[in-house]
Amino acid sequence: MIKVDNLSKAFGPKVAVNHISFTVERGEVLGFLGPNGAGKSTTMRMLTGFIPPTEGKISVGGFDMLANPIAAKRLIGYLPENAPAYADMTVWGFLNFIAEVRGLRGEEKKRAVHRAVEMCFLEAVLHQSVDTLSKGYRHRTCFAQSIIHDPDVLVLDEPTDGLDPNQKHEVRGLIRRMGERKAIIFSTHILEEVEAACSRAIIIDRGQIVANGTPDELKRRSEQSGVVLLVVREASGKAVQERLAGLAQARRTAIVKEENGRVWARVYPRGEMPDGDLARAVSQAANGWTLEELHTEVGRLDDVFRSITLSDVSTKSGTNESKS
């Protein structure tokens, strides 16, 4: 549904987005991750036709955004960052206006507004003007605006920003459910959101895609992924270290701490192996000790995100220092 090819955007000398390419198919929810200022919003603005790219191609549902913007825009629902809405209008008036701009009329329009109001729980504030709404309601009003024409493509820039935990949960559920029939891209810097709602995630840093995969694939890139943590009683750290170091599957064993006759140890896998292999080997090797705990860590997106987006920063600042 969405095809982005070699997209770049420069504001003067500053390159905000640097040759990125990706595709999103129907039924996919793509999470767009990245630190602030990484180029997420700029990419989304180009995708929705708000700003023209400096270079590259965007096609939505087969329509080129530059050559045929109206047809492409018709397929897209867009929630911009900070959820803008006309302050002097009532929620009802605003949604009706959007429905009309989207070309809906009469009975069709009434049904569309009603459906969007219902999906975003806006009944209570329907006749309130937008500037009197709380941040959560304003956000949901703008979200309702983006789904009013039941678009095939949804582009959501930080859809859960400013919502309370319950509302966040609700919106994530909504995105996941809608993602079954649509192509959705949403940006966030909340990593649990990616695990909760995305079928695929892209990490973008300083205008470039630095990782692209399912949340599970990304997690596997973590340092901690596949590490077996074990806690044994009535053994010395040295003994544990020695016995586990002999395992063919282990790259390295680290004793985390020794306390009250208990030993905490981490065993790092040697290369890729099927899930559970290392844990089984460790439990066999632990024969004779009293095993209190044994589990395989799955790796955390946080770690991946940090290691990918921070590593470059530190090397960069390093070169800066050497220059000065």
Partner: protein
């Protein structure tokens, strides 16, 4: 969906916003108070003249009053959209920038028409007191509305340039003032002293004054109509260029 429908939808929303904000009523009330004062006080001399005409006591004030009134009406058109961020919504809808620009301009122009129509008591008064030439009055009203449209279109440009409504107001005030003054006798007299009639002609023909005067006299000349319409057309086009250049970054 057709362009007219898009323009209508945009204009309808914009008009609704005018009439739901206090600014609109303030502007209309001030306009009516001022125009009433100038017409019936000694300044306009409606009664002192003893003539059943509106050109000097009433319409002659319009180019001056519009200097304040029209930039106040037009200043928020684009500045507000940019400040609040709704511009991003508007320009990601399946409509063209031209449709949005024309729709918003039309709404403010209709608003101006409403303010003008509300001056009807003046027309009733002059008809009650004497036999007025209502054809001339209608012609002057049309001219006044066209002139207001030209001011408004200029306000569209200044409103698109900045997010700040006050700056938008001041800049469009200055541009409109220049357009008025370059046909005002004290200014044209100054250029006459250079003894270059062609220069005087060019400068004064740029002025809204020299074109509006014909409408006041009841002369509906296509050249005057084209003058105002071309200011409107040029300004709206420029507005489009400016809005696009903002987005191109």
């Amino acid at each position: 969906m057709s362009a007219t429908q898009n323009i209508k939808t945009i204009a309808k929303r914009e008009l609704g916003e005018y009439f739901s904000s206090p600014l609109a009523y303030v502007v209309i009330v001030i306009f009516l108070l001022l125009i009433g004062f100038f017409t019936f006080s000694r300044a306009g001399g409606f009664f002192e003249r003893g003539q059943a005409s509106l050109d000097m006591p009433f319409f002659a004030w319009h180019p001056w009053l519009y200097l304040f009134l029209v930039p106040a009406v037009g200043m928020r058109l684009w500045a507000e959209e940019r400040r609040v961020g709704t511009l991003e919504l508007l320009f990601t809808m399946p409509i063209t920038a031209g449709e949005a620009i024309i729709g918003k301009f039309l709404a403010s122009w209709i608003f101006l028409a409403v303010a003008l129509v509300l001056t009807f008591p003046v027309v009733i008064t002059v008809n009650y007191l004497g036999t007025a030439d209502n054809g001339v009055i209608l012609c002057a009203y049309i001219g006044s509305w066209l002139m207001g449209g030209a001011y408004l279109a200029i306000s569209c440009i200044t409103s698109a340039i900045t997010r700040n409504q006050v700056i938008s107001f001041i800049v469009s005030f200055m541009i409109c003032l220049a357009l008025v003054l370059c046909g005002w006798p004290p200014v044209t007299d100054f250029f006459t002293r250079w003894d270059k009639p062609w220069l005087v002609n060019i400068i004064s023909s740029l002025s809204v004054m020299s074109h509006f005067e014909w409408f006041m006299k009841g002369v509906l000349d296509s050249r005057d109509i084209i003058y105002f319409l071309s200011i409107i057309g040029f300004s709206l086009f420029t507005t489009g260029v400016i809005l696009r250049s903002h987005r191109a970054g």
